[in-house]
């Protein structure tokens, strides 16, 4: 459920950015990098910060 919530949140932000800046929507590579950062990178950073 937490994972799904992360993807949904990432999707809402992606759509908001894309609607404001349509160029953001054209590249699949941008979407892949965005998703990795939003769904894996940021939670991983937070996890490491908490572990310290």
């Amino acid at each position: 459920m937490r994972t799904l919530a992360l993807y949904v949140a990432a999707g809402i932000v992606y759509v908001a950015i894309g609607v404001a800046i349509p160029d953001f929507l054209y590249a699949s590579t941008v979407a892949a990098v965005y998703l990795v950062v939003a769904v894996w990178g940021i939670p991983e950073l937070v996890r490491r910060q908490r572990a310290r």
Binding site: V15, G18, V19, L25, A31, L35
Partner: protein
């Protein structure tokens, strides 16, 4: 041309065909007809110089032009090359399936594709939605998501959502990894599983999210009218109509 359909079809095929296909070559195959040429259809500015085909529709789908990239035989040739490079039948078949899905999806627009090239330069077209690539990428997007093109993408989104199990970590471990030791296996040896899983899901996310974003952009932020008549929307100048 189609938009989110090219992102979502591979996941639906993956769900239906299971371990017999691999997602990475399915996706590469699905993007392959346009991957090197689309920028020249829409045009780009490089150091103040605008680069664009003088006749974008002819360039994209015709001959002379690069329309052969949307032919069935070109897909076979590329799949053969994939087989020579990878020695993997799964990769070659998956690539071909993705490539052909793209070629066949694109016959839905008013311009169509040269499916039977080099035996024929006839553009096979159902004419269901307007081909508007020559109008620029924003108008093209607005037109596509105002006509049957948007319905076509929505159809594939529904199919993909019905195939939701393909996105689970359990399916990833039982089907995706064994089906593709070439790429997925290597990625798993180098990176954490949760990162590889995110990458695996990325194009599904992209297809879903960009479909929603374009719909909002075209019909809420802007006021492009829906036109679900055959070959529509008719407010845009469509090639091949």
């Amino acid at each position: 041309m189609s938009w989110a359909a090219h992102d979502l079809e591979p996941y639906v095929f993956q769900r239906k065909l299971g371990i017999g296909v691999a997602i990475v070559p399915l996706l590469i195959g699905s993007y392959s007809p346009d991957i090197l040429t689309k920028w020249f259809v829409y045009g780009i500015d490089v150091f103040g110089v605008h680069l664009q085909a003088s006749d974008p529709a002819q360039f994209h789908r015709g001959w002379p032009g690069v329309g052969f990239t949307h032919s069935l035989l070109f897909g076979v040739a590329l799949a053969w090359l994939v087989y020579l490079l990878t020695k993997s039948k799964v990769w070659a078949v998956s690539f071909l399936l993705g490539n052909w899905a793209h070629d066949v999806s694109d016959i839905g627009d008013t311009l169509g594709t040269m499916l039977l090239f080099p035996f024929s330069t006839h553009l096979v077209s159902l004419g269901a939605w307007a081909y508007a690539g020559q109008t620029g990428r924003l108008t093209d997007a607005a037109a596509y998501f105002s006509g049957f093109g948007g319905i076509w993408d929505a159809f594939w989104l529904v199919c993909a959502l019905l195939s939701w199990r393909v996105l689970t970590s359990d399916y990833f471990r039982k089907v995706i990894l064994p089906a593709d030791p070439v790429v997925m296996g290597r990625l798993m040896r180098r990176y954490p599983e949760d990162l590889v899983l995110v990458l695996y899901r990325a194009m599904f996310f992209y297809g879903f999210a960009r479909l929603v974003a374009w719909m909002i952009w075209a019909h809420i932020v802007h006021d492009y009218p829906f036109d679900l008549s055959w070959g529509g929307p008719h407010w845009v100048e469509a090639a091949g109509r």
